[in-house]
Amino acid sequence: MSLTLKRVFMALFGLLGALALWPCLLALQYRQQAFPGYLLFSLAQGVTLGLVFGAFFGSFEGVVVSSRPKAFKGLLFGAGFGALSGAAGVMAGQLFLFAAGSALWHTESARNGVGLAIASGVAWTIVGLFLALTEGFRARSARKILVGLAGGVAGGLAGGAALSAVSWFFPGNPLALLAGLAAFGLSISLAWSLFENRFSSGALMLLNGPFKGKEYHVLSRRMKIGSGSGCDIVLKGYPEVEELHATLRLSGGKVLVEAEKAGARLLVNDEPPAGRSLKPEDVLAVGKAKFIYGYFG
């Protein structure tokens, strides 16, 4: 999948999240009276928002690398992580209201109006930040966490502000809520994908076979390549590729490739890698799969 297509997909995932979330939040808000207090009510909304967006964002990588097991696992991880993020974000917003509310807004109308709107903006920003970190934690990759931080701060701020502003200017308007959620999902996904490229140490583009054209950004300290679904680069359907075939190691900005199995076909420019780091335009053969390394997009 090329970088542009990947971005389009990521944006699509943000929109799908908003679409899926919309009826859930409407139903939840309609049942506001069933909640004992503001805190639980906001927690329920935060957890729902985090869960749904998290599920979509968590499964994204699996869809990108066309690995179903990875997509489903990512869905579960993302949902769980997102639910926790939602709770954390709402608690932070509440804490903000506690700590700064009466200092910043002196009148009751301001506290219940703009104060609450800004506190929920803070909450959504933090939820957005955490959501952007989903992939980083899923992949346990420091680089991806960095991408998430940058994308999450930018996307969370924009999305949180949009979501909060929409509910402030159009209270009780369901379409406005949908627009706010879409803006939230889009800004997080777009910010993430913009920063992903910036933080990557190049990418491997597949040149042949079933996944020809897919680009894999080197963002983790360790990336596993093989036919197994636990790998970061899943080469299903390629001849001569082992379950766990090779590993890409990122150290000091250099990308090294190491065989994980003796006798497995692993070549850089038709020669054994022999501890050399990859440089742009190198051709990497993993079994019958061939990649070109470089900076794309």
Binding site: Q33, Y38, S66, S109, L163, K212, E281, K288
Partner: protein
């Protein structure tokens, strides 16, 4: 008669003083009666505090209930509280605490809004006078002084004076002494400044005052109707331009910020709508004809607010911003007392007036389905033909696939080459040739001048799927189906094995010899 007997006029001044005191006592009694008559249920909610709503889910009601006859230090009565989203369906709410005289402990924040229009500088009948002591403004100042001197040290005061203009004399939270000093600075307005900008000034007063914590009491004194400058003269007000404020705006602001408005109509010219504003905000309107009555009114307000009790209850979660609250208790004689008001609460992420509908749930299903489709299907497809494509082609060309057909395919810049690639001046007319051995199903690149395959310079090399060929800067990828290749390889092997078998047998026979 007994009152008359108590008067022993020593001189004329003493008699006037005594008459004044009688009038004051009489008016106070009348006002006390009016209090009871006004609140038919004998109880009213004067202010609703939401300071602790978002953090502790608690709302505070300030309740005025003179009928209960509560004494400080006594046992607070039992209260019941209900909330409602529409004023029709009520939900009982738990009461957390009831305090007697909470305002005596925490102090009250008063805000005096004083009319200083032209008519305040006439006598009580509205006639011009040279006698300063006979002017309304003097009566108003004297009443304000006596009110300020009666305040407790815990109380806080703000003072603003208005006519065409608005003068914030003492900011809310100030001391009574500051307000007394400010009163002395009042001066007669010039005719341009002599209008009664009543509601606009109340709006400005409210925005100044709303930030005060705790119990907020705004007392507005006016000796006439709202008489806005912009409306009456057709010219913009020197301070506020063409801005205007309606009584409904004042009510909304007062309710949203939890400010009780008490209106004092001084003299015979009265604003017809201000009593409604006061009532809706939890306060009341009073009439006073002279300075003595005015002092009585101020005293009544102060005592009423001081005698209030507070009811803290756990707020509900009804949808929407506006909420109704009802409080009820029983008097000592068993009479039921109740009061109802509304307030504004905040909303988190907006509120939905209607449940999610079926078609909206269908969207969720659609999103889930689309997700599943994206998971199950992939966009990438393996090629089923052998060919080359440009790796870094100019715009749009990189996706172009040149199929390899026949035993040899010439790649070059010449237009008649089998694969003609334009745009690279270094590319020769016939730069490289790809040969195809149909029997072995093998592709080989051949070139006179070296090309690089996978970054190695070669003049002849057997190609495999994914090999990158660089011809003087034009980079192409050779591609063929891995699956087909594997099948072909098997076939070829089988074919070779098939050919080899007959030959092998005699060999074995020979070897057996």
């Amino acid at each position: 008669m007994s009152r008359a007997a108590a008067i022993r006029p020593a001189n004329r001044a003493g008699r006037e003083e005594a008459v004044k005191m009688i009038k004051l006592a009489f008016m106070t009694a009348l006002l006390a009666l009016a209090t009871v008559a006004a609140g038919a249920q004998g109880m009213s909610i004067t202010q609703i505090g939401t300071e602790r709503l978002l953090s502790f889910q608690e709302t505070r009601l300030y309740v005025s209930a003179p009928l209960l006859g509560l004494q400080p230090g006594g046992e607070p009565p039992l209260f019941e509280v209900w909330e409602s989203a529409d004023g029709e369906e009520w939900e009982s709410r738990p009461v957390n605490a009831v305090s007697l005289q909470p305002n005596a402990d925490a102090g009250i924040s008063f805000f005096l809004l004083l009319d200083n229009s032209g008519s305040m500088w006439t006598d009580l009948d509205g006639n011009d006078t040279a006698d300063v002591a006979a002017m309304r403004v003097e009566g108003a100042k004297a009443a304000a002084r006596s009110f300020l001197s009666a305040l407790s040290p815990r109380d806080r005061v703000g003072l603003a004076v208005f006519n065409t203009r608005y003068w914030s004399a003492v900011a809310p939270g100030g001391s009574p002494e500051d307000a007394v000093r400010a009163l002395d600075e009042l001066s007669r307005p010039v005719s341009e400044d002599a209008y009664t900008e009543l509601y606009l000034s109340m709006a400005r007063g409210l925005s100044e005052f709303a930030a005060e914590p705790g119990r907020r009491v705004l007392i507005v004194l006016s000796d006439g109707e709202n008489y806005p400058y912009a409306l009456k003269t057709g010219k913009p007000n020197p301070e506020t331009g063409t801005a205007s404020a309606a009584p409904s705006d004042i009510i909304d602001r007062a309710v949203r910020d939890g400010v009780t408005v008490y209106a004092v109509r001084f003299g015979s010219q009265r604003d017809p709508l201000i009593a409604g504003v006061a009532g809706e905000s939890g306060g009341r309107a009073f009439d006073a004809m002279d300075g003595g009555q005015l002092a009585g009114v101020y005293e009544t307000i102060r005592r009423d607010v001081l005698a209030e009790l507070s009811v803290d209850y756990r707020a509900g979660m009804s949808r929407g911003e506006k909420r109704w609250v009802r409080v009820a208790t029983a008097a000592a004689d068993g009479r039921k007392l109740s009061a109802t008001r509304y307030y504004y609460a905040g909303t988190v992420l907006g509120q939905s007036a209607s449940d999610a509908e079926a078609w909206q749930w269908l969207l969720l299903a659609a999103a889930a389905l689309l997700w599943l489709v994206l998971v199950l299907f992939k966009l990438e497809r393996e090629t089923d033909r052998a060919g080359v494509r440009l790796l870094y082609g100019p715009g749009g060309q990189s996706t172009r696939f040149f199929e390899l057909s026949g035993a040899q395919t010439v790649i070059g810049a010449a237009p008649d080459a089998d694969i003609s690639i334009a745009g690279n001046p270094s590319l020769k007319a016939s730069h490289a040739t790809i040969l195809f051995d149909e029997e072995k199903h093998v592709f080989t690149v051949v070139s006179d001048s070296p090309v690089t395959v996978n970054n190695h310079p070669v003049t002849r090399k057997r190609l495999e799927s994914g090999d990158v060929i660089n011809m003087a800067g034009t980079v192409v990828v050779f591609d063929e189906s891995l699956l087909a290749k594997a099948t072909e390889a098997r076939k070829a092997k089988a074919a070779r094995a098939g050919k080899a078998k007959p030959a092998a047998k005699p060999m074995r026979k020979r070897s057996g010899k």
